[in-house]
């Protein structure tokens, strides 16, 4: 059997409570007592049983991270940063992939997954704010992304509209007039895709250019679907001189498809994305995109969640944070 607190207490000649006090850094312990306990711990190689601690205290020292797909570069990079941040604060991260499915999202919100974690970083994609509110429970919950922007919930996100507008304006300043958008439906206006499309429309409007729904191609946010979407536009005979992929993998898929069809980038068609994943810098041509402030998003969301858990943040209404973005002008749309 493993060494228990009881063994430590006996070896140090103190009570259980005193050992617990030492472990939990209780302030008022006689230095000599503390020393004796610490010696006993070292000698016996005692390690606290986290499960027992958790059962009694109700805290698990684990955080939940729910996102659609860990193999998507944006999420992979974000998860990596969040885990590093959590480790720094003594927490571990339990990841759940929802595949953007409502059932999986609900499950993560209420099921055993929730029970095992002290707080949740949640990227909802399918379920509604009301469904979340109904099941939110009492443990802290911080939203990532923009499917839900509701005053009831804490939210850390990015400046989607502003950034998309800035990127579109850059394309317009480069003389592009028919900018295809990949990854949204023409009438979308909420959620990540909708907000980025709004930004695109705002920039067009400011430039006095009418919005043409024919230029907007829906697609799931992957490379293969980005490629297929641009192929669809070309085959439908839609004319365009730029492609705005609503995220980088869409743009990279589109870029690939254009090049194998002999379309020159950026001479014939400029291409731009959104996310600034590492891959974007090393594409050929390198990809113009938006850096959405991922470091800031990771740090702020982790800090907010930990503040809620510790009771340092007590605002009744949700706290909303938007990270700063940066345009990354590269070869694909100089």
């Amino acid at each position: 059997m493993a060494v228990t607190m009881n063994d430590v207490a006996k070896a140090a000649g103190v009570s259980l409570k005193t050992v617990s006090n030492v472990l939990n850094n209780y302030e008022f312990i006689r230095p000599a007592t503390r020393q004796r306990v610490e010696d006993a711990i070292a000698e016996l190689g005692y390690e606290a049983n986290l499960t027992a601690r958790s059962l009694r205290s109700g805290k698990t020292s684990m955080l939940g991270l729910v996102l659609s797909d860990l193999s998507a570069p944006y999420y992979a990079e974000l998860a990596s940063k969040l885990m590093d941040a959590a480790t720094k604060h003594g927490y571990r991260v339990l990841v759940e992939q929802s595949a953007a499915e409502g059932a999986a999202e609900l499950n993560a919100l209420q099921g055993p997954f929730r029970q095992l974690t002290d707080g949740l970083l949640f990227t909802p994609l399918s379920i509604s704010a009301d469904a979340i509110a109904e099941r939110a429970g009492t443990k802290p919950l911080v939203m990532l992304g923009e499917h839900i922007m509701d005053p009831r919930f804490d939210l850390v996100t990015m400046k989607n509209e502003e950034a998309a507008a800035a990127l579109t304006s850059h394309l317009l300043a480069g003389g592009r007039r028919r900018i295809a958008v990949i990854g949204a439906t023409p009438e979308e206006s909420t959620g990540t895709a909708g907000l980025r499309l709004n930004g695109y429309r705002t920039a067009l409007k400011n430039a006095g250019i009418p919005f043409d729904p024919a230029l907007v191609a829906p697609a799931e946010w992957r490379r293969d679907t980005g490629a297929a979407a641009v192929a669809g536009l070309l085959e439908a005979g839609v004319e365009f001189d730029a492609v705005f992929g609503l995220n980088d993998v869409l743009a990279l898929g589109a870029l690939h498809e254009l090049l194998i069809r002999g379309v020159r980038v950026p001479q014939d068609v400029a291409v731009a994305g959104f996310d600034d994943v590492d891959e974007a810098r090393f594409a050929s041509p390198s990809l113009t995109t938006v850096s959405p402030g991922m470091d800031e998003i990771a740090e702020r969301s982790m800090a907010l969640l930990l503040d809620r858990i510790a009771g340092r943040e007590t605002a009744d209404a949700g706290v909303h944070v938007k990270a700063e973005f940066q345009l990354k002008i590269r070869e694909s749309a100089p």
Copy 2:
């Protein structure tokens, strides 16, 4: 307070043990009793407390996954598949990033992380087999990768030597004679890099071509380091007509560097990688690489770990599994 088993037992008019029997699918329960218990569970909305279960049973229903960096595409894709597999079997996955540092690896092996999981999928990169054996404890441990290939441990890996040899032979068959290798030191012969380099040397030997250490450039396995390594070779005046990046991100970084320097791929220099991450297919030119059988690796390693946990696999010596590979011939080295 949450609903407990006691509440269910009272509501159903049975003992605690009977409720436990129903929850754990004990075979010999009178159907009527089972029904009453299930009704009570449904009515009260009872959910088992996993922490309590875990304290008593010693099982956590969590699996640990230790890898160096979740933002690396190969690991991101592997982790994603492993999580899906774990979910299918009722397990959750706790991920730990080691940054390939020995201290972090030791920590994952013994610390609280280990305590919280029923078994570990471990990609050691720094620590020795002996160090692992010393700290392996009694819980199941399956190695991923090839830093440790020791009969004491279960291991699921890929055919590094064979695959690297096959890829090199393909480059040779295409008329390439000076194939630079990025991501290893010339004398390396163990670990993932060493094995792949061995395969390269075997293929050269079979073709009667001498091994030139000047063609081998060390680099950490990232895009930026791949680019820097190829830049280093060019600036040192080393002549080569092909580049074998020991993984895809190295190859993609190298590809990018070659193209911005005006080297034509594949006309002047062929480029090949290893891993077949999704990105490889969509690079321009698309990347010739090895598909190492990631699906098989994910499935087999998960199955082996679960078999060890359940006691279905009882071999004293480590079970070693090697997945089948496939060459993916694409534009960068046709």
